[in-house]
Symmetry: C2
Amino acid sequence: MATIKDIAKMTGCSAMTVSRALNNPALVKPETRRKILAAVESSDYTQNRVARSLVKGCSYNILVYIPSMLDISEPFVAHTVSAIGERLGMSGYSLSLRRSMAIDNNCDGVIAMGLNIEDEESFLAIAQKKPAVLYGNSERFTNWVDVDNYKGIYNMTCYIADKGYKDIAYIGMDFHAHYVIQRKQGFMDAIADRGLPLRDEYLVTAENSEKSGFDACERLIATARPAAIVCATDLIAVGCIHALQRHKIQIPGDVAVSGFDGFGMERTVFPVLTTARQPLYRVGARLADAVVNLINGVPIARGEYIEPEIISGDSV
Amino acid sequence: MATIKDIAKMTGCSAMTVSRALNNPALVKPETRRKILAAVESSDYTQNRVARSLVKGCSYNILVYIPSMLDISEPFVAHTVSAIGERLGMSGYSLSLRRSMAIDNNCDGVIAMGLNIEDEESFLAIAQKKPAVLYGNSERFTNWVDVDNYKGIYNMTCYIADKGYKDIAYIGMDFHAHYVIQRKQGFMDAIADRGLPLRDEYLVTAENSEKSGFDACERLIATARPAAIVCATDLIAVGCIHALQRHKIQIPGDVAVSGFDGFGMERTVFPVLTTARQPLYRVGARLADAVVNLINGVPIARGEYIEPEIISGDSV
DNA sequence: CGTCTGAATGTTAACGTTATCATTGATTAC
DNA sequence: GTAATCAATGATAACGTTAACATTCAGACG
């Protein structure tokens, strides 16, 4: 593999001049530069980034930390990781995927997702030393990017309300996680802002599965008959649709249904589900851009929410 | 950041002894080693891999090439990339994602997926110089890993046949791509091997969409009434299910339906779709392991197919 | 006792690049 | 005419590590 020294010998100048011709052309006489570029063309020279890294004191590598409790095969993990990878590649960075949070100095920055308490401590420690960005919101740290779960459901509920639906119910999860709380709050606030009625029986709890969505919907329609049902996830919405169909309730004629996630299953039900698609590509891209910016000294003003996009189907 | 020289000073030995204590402990007196390890513990020393790479002449980086015609947001791309990333990380490698195929010497190996003709030429040229593995089968190259589309449909068809279904139809795509041809052939061979009848009207063409699957199924049942329908993709299968339901045909009572992909939508239809899940994690893991093995001098005997797994639902 | 062996450690140079300072001419300014 | 300036290039060292060879010293062997 040709090196800068080989090019120097070929052109009769020093290695330094070759380096300058390639990295800082203004410092080299045009004629010399032409000669050097021609020599580079005719050889198989490419810059050795390892050597550059050594002298520059950086690695052009980003650590991506996915806690081991998250399965890499989860769509939202896989899509985000791939988006991060593509965008980092565009910026000339490589990435190292880690499943355990250990300090690693062989990187220029860190992206971490979905931390539990102890990981958060480690992450904050690392963030003291390296540019770091978090996927998921945090009150202890400002460099984060997250899906705007609140706005996603809020906007969806308004979208439905603005179509004239008045009695709107919500089927969602009920455990202590940011995104669960935010989605529910988005619904509540949208209902309040639109001045719509909110009855107790319009708030139903389900797990994130088709089966649980089905059962929750059955419970809901046994006691009430809302005009629309906002679901916290597509899986729940699908279960909901199946339950309604079982009772021969027309969608969206009798009851409208909306979902949240947009991982593809919205197209597999009939009618096609109206859903809020998680902007996973944009989140991954933003995480990558943000860490690269931080490395280059461009700070992030504050945490950044990215709004889901409403994918309108035929269920509303 | 502490270096090997700092540790050397702290312990009163040479940098070389420190290096040996860390990389080749057998060469260092136990007492010296203990002293060195203690010093390393008490400092913030971690090996500088960039420097190691420079002297070793390798980068511990793998190039992952995804042609620009493939969208990184496609589930099968995103999941495979993530799996590659996880497995490379486990082996201490980073990855650089590229959307254009250019020779890059700053890597120890290459993984490429889904090449068109011109990319294939570039890839073969690169493979002359670097350990390289291809995602997708090839006749011009032996280091490849691919989903066994043939066996996936073959096994599924046999699975259905062995449940006693005799008249089995196939709805699949019809364009010139390996996976399209292989899936169809898998069906034909399974039917032949089980000695089942194959009528012309049992072979129906569709595009990979719910709508097209729906239409294809309508055409199929207008002229024939098979006992089971093997679909080339889950989307087609979903369309198929909707068409059957529209005609009040019971699944699987009157007609069984199977899909192929297993990206999640199999759980969103009722009845839950029996499908052959693409082993994307295993493919990604195998691609990563294979390229690392190649780097370490372990050859791949030949191309390797990985069989989809049958996920049994309620539609068969 | 001298030589040989081998374990333990040290010294030097090298990997390929760039930062820093030095040198060389030519041009400009006074 | 001499000093100052500037463009172009070169020489050297450094980044942190390891390969290759060198040294040291203790113990084994005849």
